[in-house]
């Protein structure tokens, strides 16, 4: 009775650690050197935890400019008011820094111009950079 933990102990000793080693196993001596090496392809980064379900995952908004008719329904439903209407062009502009990735605009759009991608590694030092303003 007392030694019932032994099988479990062995199982855990030889099983793979649960830790996801994103982006590297240990901290490098220099981040900048490492980033250069990653760019050149000398080091590979460990991928993040896999997205559970690609169908329903809510990543960064993708905007199909051609399909949009400028009806403004997405602006009405957006709880964070992250979308702006460009009146003269009848197109919209989405600010990722304000967006909360709720997906309401995707559901509301009558033309299917909006969708949500799988991109979620979005950290940046500039909050109006090109990646964050979707036009």
């Amino acid at each position: 009775m007392r030694y019932t933990f032994i099988p479990e102990l062995f199982r855990q000793l030889f099983s793979k650690p649960f830790t996801n080693l994103f982006p590297l196993k240990y901290a490098p001596a220099s981040i900048k050197d490492t980033l250069d090496k990653i760019k050149k392809g000398e080091i590979e980064i460990n991928p993040p935890v896999e997205i559970p379900d690609k169908e329903i995952f809510r990543g960064k908004i993708q905007y199909d400019r051609e399909k949009c008719i400028g009806c403004g329904l997405c602006i009405k439903v957006c709880p964070a008011k992250a979308i702006e209407l460009k009146k003269e062009e009848k197109k919209i502009r989405i600010y990722v820094g304000r967006c909360i990735f709720c997906g309401q605009c995707v559901d509301a759009c009558p033309k299917g111009a909006l969708s949500q991608g799988e991109e979620f590694l979005l950290a940046d030092a500039d909050k109006l950079n090109k990646e964050w303003v979707i036009e």
């Binding site: 901290a27 981040i31 820094g97 909360i100 030092a125 909050k127």
Partner: protein
């Protein structure tokens, strides 16, 4: 002093402060510290006082009660420092953007800070780790201790 700098430049200590957030982003910061992501393997850890920190992780849109506290924490952190803004509400107000008692977003309270923004409501732990790496890169740039190509890997200069 010299030895001290060498020992500590590779470990990044973070002070985390909630400026009125819904707690979602705080939980994701904790998730990044759990064994699943385990950022402590990089020497990244949360510290209890801003005086020990290299990076301040701020969540939330800064309510009017928190304005002076945010300023105080920012001033207490030794230079060079980076402010890591976790979550959309800290970046721009997010869902709270029109609330009556908001003074934020954070870069309005600390106009001269260096920021790294992590969007999401809340962002995934990997995105927060990526933001910390961006902050680390900025700190290396400022401290001028980035490049080690001339030195050996073990740093015995």
């Amino acid at each position: 002093m010299e030895l001290g700098m060498k020992c500590f430049k590779r470990a990044l200590w973070i002070y985390h402060m909630n400026t009125g957030s819904c707690n979602g982003c705080d939980i994701e910061i904790i998730a990044a510290l759990t064994p699943r992501y385990d950022v402590e393997r990089f020497g990244i850890r949360l510290v209890g006082t801003p005086r020990h920190a290299d990076v301040i992780a701020l969540t939330g849109p800064v309510t009017s009660d928190m304005v002076d506290k945010v300023k105080r924490v920012y001033e207490q952190t030794p230079d060079p420092k980076v402010v890591l803004v976790v979550g959309s509400c800290g970046i721009s107000g997010g869902v709270f953007h029109e609330s009556y008692h908001l003074e934020g977003p954070i870069d309005k309270i600390i106009p001269d800070g260096t920021f790294v923004y992590v969007p999401g409501c809340p962002p995934r732990p990997e995105a927060i780790i990526q933001g910390v790496i961006k902050a680390w890169e900025i700190l290396e740039e400022v401290r001028g201790n980035g490049r080690t190509t001339q030195k050996t890997e073990g740093e015995k200069d």
